[in-house]
Amino acid sequence: MHVLYLIFIDPFVQMGTAPDLLVQTLWEGLVGGMLYALIALGFVLIFKASGVFNFAQGIMVVFSALTLVGLYAHGVPAFLALALTVAVMYLLAFTVERVVLRPLVNQPDIILFMATFGITYFLIGFGEFVFGGDPKVMITDDLYLPKGSITYKAFGGIVSLQRLDIVAVVVASIMVAGLGVFFSKTRIGRALRAVADSHSAALSVGISLEQIWVIVWFAAGLVALVTGIFWGARSDVSFALEVIALKALPVLILGGFTSIPGAIVGGLIIGIGEKLGEFYWGPLVGGGTDAWFAYVIALVFLLFRPQGLFGEQIIERV
């Protein structure tokens, strides 16, 4: 009985008696969730346009952040380095299309999936070769990212918000909204959805697959760069960051692989769920829940909605 009380009653009692801690936990979950959403968005963009799960998205986050920090370390001014990094991400998108996607056009999806493993290992090796393998510090000051925190007296206690986190949430929201409008309202967005549905039909109305692929890989690269900057600022810039890509998997399972709103809502659910789980239920199992709790949340959702929260309903005429 005591165990049941600890699992089902006690955490909620704690939430009720210390609302300031609850708000603090929710906020941290929101920040983490926005960043998960950004990573998931990178996956969704490429999956929508080419039906390929891009395993390299995680390393693209690391690679873009490394490029930014590496250029700065070589004496390039911060904002010029940022512009150059954007250019590098474009070059990467262009190269991937030319060297990897174009020769493999019309191959089964699993072949393209394996090719993204290749891209991953190439970027790891290339990144280490050029910038070295040691962890680096994100150049937050030079990019005018704020430091420190704002503290409120509220909810019968103290809630403190990191300034960096506030900026991260704002930037991520703008980015997500911008991409959402871009892909639902513009000609290129319509072309992108067309390519996602049928390659041959898209070709027949004059959509260039090559151009669309470069655009989505570039967009995914930009998303990776923003994720890399903020995630790098929270910890440091190292190849260990790559594993956050795996955290995007439960987000994608929740949100559906093809939905931009799904990536956002999925990211928030996972981010907030993870923090709540860690803070309120974690002590019961001795902590360390952040490694697996996200997957449990995803599993539970899968039981009820196999296509994800926002995934396109599978329509099949038989």
Binding site: I188, A191, R193, A202, S204, S208, I315
Partner: protein, 266 residues
Amino acid sequence: MRAPSGPDVSFGDVLLSVENVSLSFGGVNAVSDVSFDIRKGEIRAIIGPNGAGKTSMLNIINGFYQPQQGRITFKGETRSKMRPHDAAHGGIARTFQNVALFRGMTALDNIMAGRTLKMHRSFFWQLLRYGPAMTEEVEHRHRVEEIIDFLKIQEIRRTPVGRLPYGLQKRVELGRALAMEPDLLLLDEPMAGMNIEEKEDMSRFVLDVNDHFGTTIALIEHDMGVVMDLSDRVVVLDHGIKIADGTPDEVKINQVVIDAYLGVAY
């Protein structure tokens, strides 16, 4: 829509000519040494038994396949290698034997997608949905509504096409091709799998497209009755070889064609 004739090719002139085109897949000759032409404003049928190379021929014209030999001249321009989106730029639209629509998108969005090449405002303006881009979107939407009216699919314009019955899907696909305002419209078995009423509807649309917009049409069809009624001239393929070319009446009484369809007793 557009004026019946472009500046370079006038009514009745050769719009597209296929000369000595061959294509094989491994050891299979899909198309061998085929020549024919399509004149501005006509409805040209390509017929033949199963496996005759009709769809391969269409895919070559459209740039999906590259012929290994021979030349194709479209609007006076001979090309050696062309990709599908170049064909679309040049004014060739098509439909597919097995409907190829953007299934998750509505009928309206599918047809709007056909106007991709006609929209030119930079995506920055489109993103803001402001100024010239908005005017452009409205103008294209107007054209698309004309097509929707023409094809009598007003009530399904907001339905995701994956949910529509087959006959309507075919009609939406025709609408998407029309939205491109093509000089040459390729229809790959537009009536396959339809019942008699749907076939009659579709035949009427094909004739209307040809009449009202002066669009040149090349179509593949199995139903002989339909082909004889619709087309001005017929080219007959069998095992990748052209065995006849002429008016429907000429082709109908051609002994080689009859043999190809019915088989020959030895």
